[in-house]
């Protein structure tokens, strides 16, 4: 014989659905993420590339072609509670900032993770470069 014990009720018929709703709202609101991105030219400004322009990413090492460092790129992602951000999450904004600064590629990527009371911060700093010679 299977016996199903009903959930205890606190006397208020609307209490259970309301509690769940409040919990769902709290979880949704607490999933707070702040994203910031910027670029700063290290010398003269370059015109931005269109949004579809491909930008190379060098996690390690430098490109073989001669290049010029033209911009510093910053992407900052901060999440509340115990959620972490990753490089993959920052990459679209990093590429976008590279395009806006007129960079052909991104090098010297530095990641930094910090914890400030109640939130985890993930910051990526990189250098945007422009090739000084056209592709062969």
């Amino acid at each position: 014989m299977i016996c199903v014990t009903p959930r205890p009720k606190d006397g208020l018929p609307w209490a259970w659905p309301t509690n769940r709703l409040v919990l769902a709202i709290c979880l949704a609101v607490s999933a707070c993420t702040v994203r910031q991105a910027r670029h700063v030219w290290l010398g003269p400004a370059y015109p931005p590339w269109p949004s579809g322009h491909s930008v190379e990413v060098f996690r390690d090492g430098l490109p073989a072609r001669p290049f010029l460092r033209i911009s510093r790129l910053d992407v900052h992602i901060e999440k509340t509670d115990f959620r972490k951000a990753s490089f993959d999450e920052a990459l679209p904004q990093l590429l976008n900032q590279a395009r806006l600064s007129g960079a052909d590629a991104v090098i010297e990527i530095r990641e930094r993770r910090t914890w400030v009371v109640g939130s985890r911060a993930y910051h990526v700093t990189a250098t945007g470069i422009r090739y000084t010679e056209p592709t062969n």
């Binding site: 702040v34 700063v40 509340t80 930094r112 939130s119």
Partner: protein
């Protein structure tokens, strides 16, 4: 006191604001002010809201006096911190590069 010209220290201050996730509210050659965006957290309430001010005074062609202050907002004070040491450290790191 940094042994660098005003423009370099100003750029380093902006870099530091960016690294710690501040929104720059005022950007002048000798003064930069930033505020950390507010967030909502179930446990800690309302992190963010700190206001950091950086005053830059050139004391020579290659020397700049930097004064940093950090203020906590009344709302969410528990989840806020003093950023003076972090800002100074980050500016030093930026200027060393």
């Amino acid at each position: 006191m940094f042994q660098r010209p005003l423009a370099d220290c100003h750029a380093a201050a902006l870099d530091a604001f960016s690294v710690f996730g501040f929104d720059v509210k005022t950007d002048q050659p000798d003064y930069v002010e930033g505020v950390r965006p507010r967030k909502f957290n179930l446990i800690w309430g309302n992190p963010g809201g700190e206001r950091v001010r950086v005053w830059l005074t050139p004391t020579g062609s290659e020397e700049t006096r930097v004064v940093i202050t950090s203020e906590r907002a009344v709302l969410g004070m528990v989840a806020q911190k003093n950023w003076v040491r972090d800002m100074a450290h980050q500016m030093t790191e930026s200027l060393a590069r």
